[in-house]
């Protein structure tokens, strides 16, 4: 798969920019704050309909503009596809493919596949569990866009259930505190049965998401070990383990959806007093953890800075391997690799090894503030990025 063209209007710092790209390596160089990451972010947005830097869309629209447009030409197996997105903050975004409007922008997912390496990736290892859950879920959706729907259904059930826990919990606490009354009695009788209904829906959606994550972790495990070995030059043994909030640490998880549903239901029942007390949902994929370890020690809290970077790179490389393997069956070509400013973070050995690993990819976009940070192996087209414009220099 190749990204042949990128055109932005009122996206981030760009009033308008057009960029033609070739296969192989492209290196974008420019001083800090000139708009390199903004370009990468736009490409990532087309692939995932989200930013890797911000949770809302407002910052993606150029200050003073009312909407942004991102256009890309994606070349899949020699066939060009024009993907256009219009971002309207607080409104509804629109998407077109080959000029035909899509009923829902979500249908864009899966058309462009990318793997992004960014300075923020260190948080995959050192950050909160939420970072690792996001890594898994983004990869799930890249592999099977249908799972975006599963994910958003789960989030919606979770919001409804949590809202109910909050109100039921505060009424129950109020009743204990001596505020007698019709409403608190009503909540005891009326809201607990509805909580059962939300439990059932949460367990069903949660089991589907959980099953998909478990399968993904299985597929990633050998790839991560292999990639860590390659990046760190055989310096350790990287492991992945999925820990469900619904099971004790050593307890094996059921292999089928029905078993997982039951597991979640049982865990919710056990957690109910605590959930009512605190007014939050304590069980489910939103509370799970992907445990990364080096040898016998957890990476989080133990790994050195360099080891943490190797692990983060290994996760991204494994994602790339997995998507490439999927693509060889669907014949769409390997994903586009985006390396935003990562070489500056690495020591010479890791730089060279990473460069060697990614150089053969079908298309690689590299950004750097200083050209000298980009290893020799990554030779290709050069672009200069300065003050909202991009110019090819070699």
């Amino acid at each position: 798969m190749k990204l042949a063209r990128l055109s932005l209007t009122d996206f981030r710092s760009y009033a308008h920019v057009e960029l033609a790209l070739d296969s192989g390596v492209s290196v974008l160089v420019g001083p800090n704050g000139q708009g390199k990451t903004n370009l990468v972010e736009a490409i990532w947005y087309v692939a995932t309909l989200s930013s890797h830097r911000v949770a809302t869309e407002a910052p993606l629209i150029r200050t003073g503009a009312s909407r942004a447009v991102v256009r890309t030409v994606v070349d899949r197996e020699g066939r060009d596809m024009l993907v256009e997105l219009e971002l309207v903050p607080g409104g509804s975004n629109r998407a077109r493919v080959n000029r035909a409007p899509l009923p829902r922008p979500r249908e864009v997912l899966g058309l462009l596949r990318t793997v992004l390496f960014a300075p923020e990736d260190i948080a995959l290892v050192k950050g909160d569990p939420a970072e690792r859950r996001r890594f898994l879920d983004e990869l799930l959706v890249a592999r099977a866009p249908r799972l975006a729907g599963v994910r958003s259904d789960y989030d919606r059930v979770l919001r409804q259930r949590s809202a109910l826990l909050r109100s039921a919990g505060s009424l129950a606490r109020g009743a204990r505190g001596g505020q007698r009354g019709r409403t608190s009695g009503g909540a005891e009788r009326g809201e607990l049965p509805t909580l059962d209904v939300w439990d059932a829906h949460l367990a069903r959606a949660g089991a589907e998401l959980l099953a998909a994550r478990l399968e993904l972790v299985e597929a990633l495990r050998p790839l991560v070990a292999k990639a860590y070995d390659a990046v760190s030059a055989g310096a350790g043994d990287a492991r992945l383990d999925y820990r469900s909030s619904a099971a004790a640490a050593a307890q094996p998880l059921p292999g089928d959806r029905a078993g997982l549903t039951q597991l979640l239901l049982n865990a919710m029942e056990a957690a109910r007093p605590a959930e009512l007390e605190r007014g939050v949902s304590l069980v489910g994929p939103h509370r799970d953890e992907l445990v990364l370890s080096l040898g016998t020690l957890p990476a989080r809290g133990y790994a050195s800075h360099g080891e943490a970077w190797s692990f983060a790179l290994a996760l991204r490389l494994a994602a790339y391997d997995l998507l490439s393997a999927d693509d060889s069956t669907s014949a769409a070509g390997t994903p586009v690799l985006l390396l935003d400013d990562v070489f500056a973070e690495l020591d010479t050995g890791r730089r060279e090894r990473l460069a060697t690993l990614v150089a053969p990819a079908e298309q690689v976009l590299v950004t750097a503030a200083v050209a000298a940070d980009v290893p020799e192996q990554l030779r290709g087209a050069r672009y200069a990025v300065a003050a909202g414009s991009v110019r090819r220099t070699g």
Binding site: D153, R156, V157, R159, Q160, R161, A163, L164, S167, G186, G190, E191, P193, T194, D196, V197, W198, A200, H201
Partner: protein, 199 residues
């Protein structure tokens, strides 16, 4: 801000569902420029609808008398009861001409985020209607979205001890949407292919 009554009008219009501040302004200025007899007619209908139309004492549908047209029609089958969220869903289902039973309008769906629980819907009225055992099939035709599904699950569990046949419209309806947006053919088919719901 506009002067006095114009601003009042914009504020009132802005309170209507689906009308934002900009839309409210547009409608207000449209009305200011419109023919006085047209505006008078609109105002009359607004007053009339509040005076004359009420909710059916039995099913909760809109009615011009104590009971709605469907509840008063002796040809409608009293053994089949279809539960919907809103009166507009009754209109959508009637359009299909597939259904000859009666209705029960809940007035919404369970949604804790919006503070809506079973007590805020016409659930107690439904249980009262079912108490005499005349209804043999209960069709749960709440919207095909999360809140509609949850409401259907809740009702199915609630009526389970009564031992009646509980069905749900067949899939094929646009998921995540409102019942009223389904076309007649799709909705008619969903009725034909309704399936037993086990709670």
């Amino acid at each position: 801000m506009y002067e006095g009554v114009v601003q009042d009008l914009i504020d009132e219009l802005g309170r209507l569902p689906g009308v934002g501040p900009k839309g409210a302004q547009r409608i207000a200025f449209y009305l200011l420029a419109a023919d006085p007899t047209d505006v008078r007619r609109l105002a009359d209908v607004l007053v009339l609808v509040k005076d004359k139309v009420r909710f059916c004492a039995t099913c909760g549908n809109v009615a011009e008398e104590e009971h709605c047209r469907i509840c008063r029609d002796p040809r409608r089958d009293p053994a089949v009861l279809c539960v919907v969220e809103e009166p507009k869903d009754v209109v959508a289902i009637e359009r299909t001409r597939e259904y000859r039973g009666r209705y029960h309008v809940l007035g919404g769906a369970i949604s804790p985020i919006d503070g809506i629980g079973p007590d805020d819907l016409r659930v107690r009225e439904l249980m009262t209607r079912l108490a005499d055992g005349a209804v043999r099939e209960l069709i749960l035709a709440t919207d095909p979205n999360l809140e509609g599904e949850a409401t259907a699950t809740y009702l199915a569990r609630l009526v389970k001890p009564m031992g009646l046949r509980v069905t749900r419209l067949a899939s094929g309806l646009p998921v995540g949407g409102d019942l009223e947006y389904a076309d007649e053919v799709t909705l008619g088919r969903a009725f034909e292919g309704r399936r037993l719901l086990d709670a």
